[in-house]
Structure formats: structure tokens, C-alpha cells
Symmetry: C2
Subunit: 350 residues, 2 copies
């Protein structure tokens, strides 16, 4: 591979001139340099450039799992912005593990100009320690217990409130909640939304109606089974993310329970195929791609020095999309006192 010296020699100029030419500055010998570059098929070494300038032209993105459609959309939004700015994106999957996240962040921090991460837990040491470095960081979807970070979140509480209100309007009073980990922002915030909305609607408090999952499909499945096996089971459930919703739906199907007749369900995060599900899924939707591009915009603002102070937090709106997985509860299901329903026939016969 030809280097800048070769080009300089071929063009009969100094390396400095070639460098200037490359930077778009005016040079008298532009034509000769251009010719030499073409003749030698020269492309500058990004590595050498980075070593000299300290810039990498790359950003890092750390998400729990690219396989989750939400994060795929998010990453796509980021990627598109990055390409426009001429930056590469280095992807890392933390797999919902703080340890793995820490390792990724430590590895990436040395080869990127900025980092976008969806931190697993709010007490995230690896993220918190990032404030000591000079690399700009923006948090997305999830936050940490510090106000110093730029972050783009969604209105979790408002979203869950929308879901609960919708269910209440339908006549439900027994509403369960399959939560994400309380240690994460969306886990905690959505649960808070459930608690607040339930209280606002004067729903009875059933501690057994909230089950803490881990945002993965299997935990949604398990939680749904647990809910269904309750002696006093709920008539509706709101699920804190897309993967757990799929798990819950699978459980419901295997359990042979009719949705929404026997159980209404609303999920968090829309899916491209939500309307094709059986039944079409009622969801709280947000723009994944949009959330990604906003995060990227925030990050590039800091990288390019347009914005010097961090700590800006954007909270994006969400929207309830009503489809067919929610309906009024069966008349018999809940209103009736438990005692009468469970009293043996013999007793009434006396």
C-alpha cells in the first residue's frame, strides 16, 4: 500500500502538501497530487491519522441485544446518522449483563469518539466511571442515577398509564403487570407507572399481580403462567416490553386461554407484525428509529463541540395503539365474590 510519502515523491511535493490537499486546502500542485494519488491508488491510513489527531471517526453503541426488534431499530437510527457524519459504528451486545457491559464499555472507550449506551442497571459503575473520561456519552432507553448524562428516554409512566386507563375504561379492575428488572430504568419507571395509575383508578392492591421479569421472552412466559395459576387471577395484564409480551402470548396459547375473552393483554413497544398476531396486539408504541437518531444527534453535538455541556434529557412521547388483544372482562370472572365461586355445591344444597 502506497503511503503519503510515495504520493509526495510521485507528485514532486512534500508530504505536507499532500496532507493539505487531502484536507481540502488550496494547493498549487493539486493536479499533480491528484494524479499521483490515482496512479498509486492511494488511500490515507485512518490509523495513522487517528494516532496523530486523537480522533477515531467511530462511535460505540452498546445495547442489551440487537436481536430485540426495538434495539435493532434503535441501532439502525443511530447508524444512519453516523454514516451521514462519516462515522463508523462499533456494536456491542451486553446481553443484560452488567459485567459484560462493563467489559464492552472499557474496550470501546479507547477506540471511539463517543458512546451511546443503554445501561443494564441504574447503579451502573462502568457508566458512572465514564464521567471521568473525556469521551462524550449519551444514554438511551435506560438511564443511571446521575444527572450528568445526556439521555433520550421515553415517557414510561405516561405509557403505562395509557395502558391501565384503557383497560379500566374497558371495565377491568383486576389488572396485573409483568415488569422488567426494578434495577433498570424502564423496569422501575414502568412499574412506577403501574402503581401510580392503579392508585389513581382506585384499583385494589394485589402484590401478587406484579411479577418482575428480566425483559426476555422466557420470563414473560413464566410470569404469565404464574399469573394464570393465581387462585384469584387477573382479567388483564400489561407487559413491560416486547420480548416478554411474546413470551406471555406463547404461555397463554399453551394454556389454552382465550385472548382477550379470558385475558386482555397490552404490550410495551410495537412490533412490525403486531397486527398479524392472534389476536392483533394492543400496544404502547414509540419510535425506535427516531429514538436512535435523536441519541446520535445529541452525541454528535458533543463530539463536534456544538454542545459543550451534558445533562440534557429528552423524554419522547408514546402512544397507545388499540388492536384486538384487549376487551371487556367476562362478566363472571371478577365481580363475583371469591367465596361463592369456590363454595362446594354440597354446601348450597343444604
Amino acid at each position: 500500500m502506497a503511503n503519503i510519502q510515495d504520493v509526495a515523491d510521485a507528485a514532486g511535493v512534500s508530504t505536507a502538501s499532500v496532507s493539505r490537499f487531502l484536507a481540502g486546502q488550496k494547493v498549487r500542485t493539486a493536479d499533480a497530487i491528484r494524479a499521483a494519488i490515482k496512479a498509486l491508488d492511494y488511500t490515507p491510513s485512518t490509523i495513522a491519522r487517528s494516532l496523530k489527531t486523537g480522533r477515531h471517526n467511530a462511535i460505540g453503541v452498546v445495547v442489551p441485544d440487537i436481536t430485540n426488534p426495538f434495539f435493532a431499530g434503535l441501532v439502525r437510527g443511530i447508524e444512519d446518522q453516523a454514516r451521514v457524519k462519516g462515522y463508523d459504528v462499533i456494536l456491542g451486545n451486553s446481553d443484560e449483563s452488567p459485567t459484560q457491559e462493563e467489559a464492552l464499555v472499557q474496550a470501546l472507550i479507547k477506540r471511539v469518539d463517543g458512546l451511546i449506551v443503554a445501561p443494564i442497571i441504574e447503579e451502573d459503575q462502568s457508566i458512572l466511571s465514564l464521567s471521568k473520561t473525556s469521551v462524550p456519552v449519551v444514554l438511551v432507553d435506560r438511564s443511571v442515577t446521575s444527572t450528568n448524562y445526556d439521555s433520550v428516554l421515553v415517557d414510561n409512566i405516561g405509557g403505562i398509564t395509557l395502558a391501565v386507563d384503557h383497560l379500566v375504561a374497558l371495565g377491568h379492575t383486576q389488572i396485573a403487570f409483568i415488569s422488567g428488572p426494578f434495577t433498570s430504568t424502564p423496569g422501575r419507571a414502568r412499574h412506577t407507572g403501574y402503581v401510580i395509575a392503579s392508585a389513581a383508578r382506585n384499583l385494589d392492591h394485589h402484590p401478587e399481580f406484579v411479577i418482575e421479569g428480566d425483559f426476555r421472552e422466557e420470563s414473560g412466559d413464566a410470569a404469565m403462567r404464574q399469573l394464570w395459576n393465581l387462585p384469584n387471577r387477573p382479567t388483564a395484564v400489561v407487559v413491560a416490553n416486547n420480548l416478554m409480551t411474546i413470551g406471555a402470548l406463547k404461555a397463554l396459547r399453551e394454556l389454552d386461554v382465550a385472548v382477550p375473552a379470558q385475558m386482555s393483554i397490552v404490550g410495551f413497544d410495537d412490533l412490525s407484525f403486531a397486527e398479524l398476531l392472534q389476536p392483533p396486539l394492543t400496544v404502547i408504541a414509540r419510535g425506535d428509529n427516531d429514538q436512535g437518531s435523536r441519541a446520535a444527534t445529541l452525541l454528535f453535538g458533543r463530539i463536534q463541540g456544538t454542545r459543550t455541556r451534558s445533562g440534557e434529557v429528552m423524554t419522547l412521547p408514546v402512544q397507545l395503539i388499540v388492536r384486538k388483544s384487549t376487551a371487556a372482562p367476562l362478566a363472571t370472572t371478577s365481580g363475583t365474590p371469591i367465596s361463592s365461586a369456590t363454595t362446594p355445591k354440597e354446601t348450597t344444597a343444604l
Copy 2:
């Protein structure tokens, strides 16, 4: 940030010793160096290291769209392998555009040790030109017209044959095919599979039964409508990828056609939620994650010099998963001659 010189000074040794210590070689002053590193919180600059060694510890991955669940799974498989080997992965979305792919490849080639790409078209200039560089490349899912590349593909022809045979066994004779672009490997190969399998089963040849889509959801939707509007419409359709299948399903729903009663459908590529669709989708499945990790393994074999010759092509098996979107055709639908169906009433009245 402390550099190697600082550490050397603090430990009272030369930079060479620190470098050797870092490389895991035996050094007398190991303890002092270790202490200095810890005291200064030193981490070596990957950039400087790269400039010196020519290695980047990163691989590039170029796929059409990370938002497609198949590619998300593929990338995940690659990522996991890469992390184990200590490599970062730089992601690029070509968006089914050869131009964009070319730009990505050109940009990545300079900062990675190897490249995994799913080329948009088989006559791919940007990929073909890669053979001149020294960077190892492995092709995945899609190939190019050259035998010199390592590639991991799937048994496209076998998969489509499985689908057609399944449909024929059910009693279908009017089977349509929504294809991907003929310029791409899976587009061409799956179409070939359709042609071969149809011929083997002595199915009538209906040129209007194959529609060339672009692998995206919208084109599946459009193709399905086109098929449905045919005067002599098919009773079953096989769709060449997951996104187009979703599109076709949406069209069918809007058209109010009952699946599988009025139209049987089998998709290529399984989806985590395929069984939750209405109806649960019959598909040709393959291991996306597995395909990714195999590609990664092939690539690292070349990067680390274990394998010196390229040109190895792996063809992974596929599997038919029968669910509920396929059934026997309605008795009336096809057997009847077209003439009788389309002949105006007036004519018969004469």
C-alpha cells in the same frame, strides 16, 4: 492519559520492558511495572498498537438491514464469536443498495482485519475488487459470481423444494412464488428451486405466478395483491423471505382472504413469533445465529492464518416447519376451466 513512557519512568525501566510485560513475556521487573500500571491507571493505546502492528482487532460486517430479524440473528452470532477472540465488530447497513454497500466496504476495508458481507448482487464490483486486497473476506447468505470467496450459504433449492413438495402433497397444483431479486443469490437460487420443484411435480407453468420482489415488506404486500387479482389465481404461495412474507400476510388480511382456506402460504426463514401469527406460519427455517458464527469462524481462521486458502463454501441445511398456514386447497377453486368461470352470462343464455 498515561502512556507507556510514563509507566516505564515510574517503574524505572525502559518502554521496551513495559511492552514486553504487556505482551506476556517474562520480565524481571514485572512487579514494579504492574504497580506503575495500576498507579497510573494505564491502558495501552490500541491505535498506536495498530499503527505499529498493522492489526486492528476489529472486523466489519455489512448486511442489508439489521432490522430484519434474520440479519439481527446473524450479526449476533458473529458478534459473539468476535468478542471471544477479542475483536470488535463494525456494523454497516447497505439497505439493499449496491452503491451504499460499495461505500461501506471501501470505508471499512481500511480499519478492519476481516470482512463479513452479505452482497446485494452477485455481480458485485465492490466485492469482486476486494480480492485484490489482503483483507480476508467471507460472504454470508449471499454470494458473488466468483469461486474464490469463503462463503456460508444455505440450501436454498432444497428449502424451496421442501415447501413446494409439502404444498403438492396437500393437493395444490396452482402454486405461486414471490421471489427476491434475481440479481441476488437467494433471489436467484430460491427461484431456481421453485422452477425445478415445479417441473419435478409436473405443475403447469404459469409465468404470471412468479413475481420478483425486493425482499422488503412492501414488495411482498404488492406481489400478494397482484397474485390475488389474477383471473386464474393460485391456491398457494411460497414467499422467498421473512419480510415479504409479513407483507403478503398483511395484504391477505386486508383483502380479507382466509389463510389457509383460500390461500396457503409458506415463508422462508422462521421468526420467533411465527407460531403466534394468525394463522401460525409454515416456514422453511435455518439457524441465523449459527450461520453467523460459522461465517465468523471461517473468517478468524483466515485472519489468524489457520486457513491460508479461501474458496471454502459451506451450505447449511434448512428445515420445513409445518404450522397452520398451509392446508388442502378448496375443491372448487382451481379445477374448473377458466372459460366457464369468465364467460359472460349472456353468452350462455343464447
